[in-house]
């Protein structure tokens, strides 16, 4: 019985994290972006520096009418937000936060699980893009699919490098095997992984699929109300997942001073720092073109990923 209770507790904790952390990231983005542009950002909602802005946004979204365009493919259109959001929830279950089993659910092939399930999220965007009966949505969907060809391979290569280094593909196992000198060793892989991840999340500078100044909001153009909010939530959940994953794979997760009792804190701090970097990059760089991303991926990221794998292999052979 306590086993069931344990599982339920873990799942509830993951759910809470899933609902809270993206909002925290979103609010941070509001504020950090504002200050980087010499503004203040939201100041009213909630009283203190607009901390409740996203709650207010949620209330607003919930009140809006849920419009399905007349020419749309109803079922697919309505299903799409769930398809793009749920994978991130599933991924969050497998991410270890602290030592001694502080993880939603330890999965043997955790790394592959995470990458596989994250890849499914893209389907949501494509479904939305196709089902909206809108040419801008269609273009957004096309760009999403085209983008996949750029980021999928480098991401897998970089992740594969870590798996090689650790000799396991279970996420807690990888963190367990971590030593501080892995950071310089896997640095290139980490950069490749993070960049490819940004492209997967469609975050600036790789936000061509939603490019608001060109194709309105890409695949999400026709969405309103809660379904639209779900897409936004998926984006921020994606940031949390990507940052947590980079932390776990390349930054040693819970390792750090006092990791025995404060391991979970280290994971959170590292994740938060990476999330800050994601926002920082958004504010700093302009949007690339789709072909520029392809060029970057195929001429820079993939060769770098391969080089990282070679380096990992050599070092691995030398030290064993």
């Amino acid at each position: 019985m306590s086993g069931t209770l344990d599982v339920v507790l873990r799942l509830v904790a993951v759910l809470v994290a899933f609902l809270v952390l993206p909002l925290v990231v979103g609010q941070t983005e509001h504020k950090v972006m504002a200050h980087m542009q010499g503004r203040l950002g939201p100041m009213y909602a909630g009283g203190f520096h607009g901390w409740a802005q996203l709650v207010a946004d949620g209330v607003k979204f919930a009140q809006k009418e849920d419009v399905v365009p007349a020419g749309a493919d109803r079922r697919v259109f309505q299903l799409a937000p769930a398809v793009s959001l749920l994978p991130y929830l599933l991924v969050l279950i497998a991410i270890p936060v602290g030592p001694n089993g502080l993880v939603g659910q330890a999965i043997d092939a955790g790394l592959f699980f995470v990458l596989a399930v994250m890849g499914v999220g893209v389907l949501g965007s494509i479904m939305a893009g196709w089902a909206s009966a809108n040419k801008f949505s269609l273009l957004g969907g096309l760009r999403t699919a085209a983008q996949l060809m750029a980021y999928e391979l480098p991401m897998l290569l970089a992740a594969g490098s870590v798996a090689m280094a650790a000799g396991t593909i279970s996420l807690p196992g990888i963190v367990q095997a971590f030593h501080w000198w892995w950071i310089p060793w896997q640095l290139i892989g980490g950069l490749v992984f993070f960049t490819a991840g940004l492209a997967e999340l469609q975050r600036p500078p790789f936000d061509m699929p939603v490019a608001d100044s060109e194709i309105i909001f890409g695949a999400y153009t026709e969405y309103t109300g809660l379904r639209f909010a779900l897409f936004l939530l998926a984006e921020y959940a994606g940031i949390v997942v990507l940052c947590a994953l980079t932390t776990v794979l390349f930054l040693g997760g819970w390792h750090g001073p006092l990791s025995g009792s404060f391991g979970w804190l280290w994971t959170l701090v590292k994740t938060a720092l990476l999330a800050f970097v994601v926002i920082w990059l958004r504010v700093t760089y302009p949007r690339l073109r789709e072909d520029q991303l392809q060029k970057l991926a195929w001429t820079v990221l993939i060769p770098l990923g391969l080089a990282q794998i070679a380096l990992t292999g050599i070092v691995k052979v030398v030290i064993s």
Binding site: G38, L40, Y285
Partner: protein, 194 residues
Amino acid sequence: MSPVPGHGLAKGLAVTLRTMTRRSVTHQYPDAAPQLPPRSRGVIGLFEENCTVCMLCARECPDWCIYIDSHKETVPPAAPGGRERSRNVLDRFAIDFSLCMYCGICIEVCPFDALFWSPEFEYAETDIRELTHERDKLREWMWTVPTPPALDPGAEEPKEIAAARKTAEKLAAAQETAAQEGTAQETEPREGDA
């Protein structure tokens, strides 16, 4: 090209990070009053006592948004046996601020200094018809007109002051010559200089 690859990218990141640590430039308007520059064009104030109902402003206004009604009144002669005078009396003076484009022509054109810019700008209404403001309201705004800022140190003198000063100088010079003529006659009078 920069010597180090990625140099420009790092520079960009530095710019945004530096901006983040600086004070933001946002004005928190409803909480803090804005610092308006002098001569801000907020609303037009009317100083009725100066207005002679010459209608110049209403005629010059490019979008005809000044409404003036008046009637003539005969004023009894000031002194017995004198002539009766007629005078224009203002009945209505209204400006439709939903049409006004704040060009300031009416204020420039008024020969009697009856119209002034006030920096007051919070007079939004929920109904466009209520933006036509009558003379009492325009008069209230008159009291919010600030004293004009001092001229720049090297600026040309205002015309009226220059004229007044010239008159005063002339007068002083005339008095001086008169005094000189009265006391000492030996010196040559030099009126031509004044």
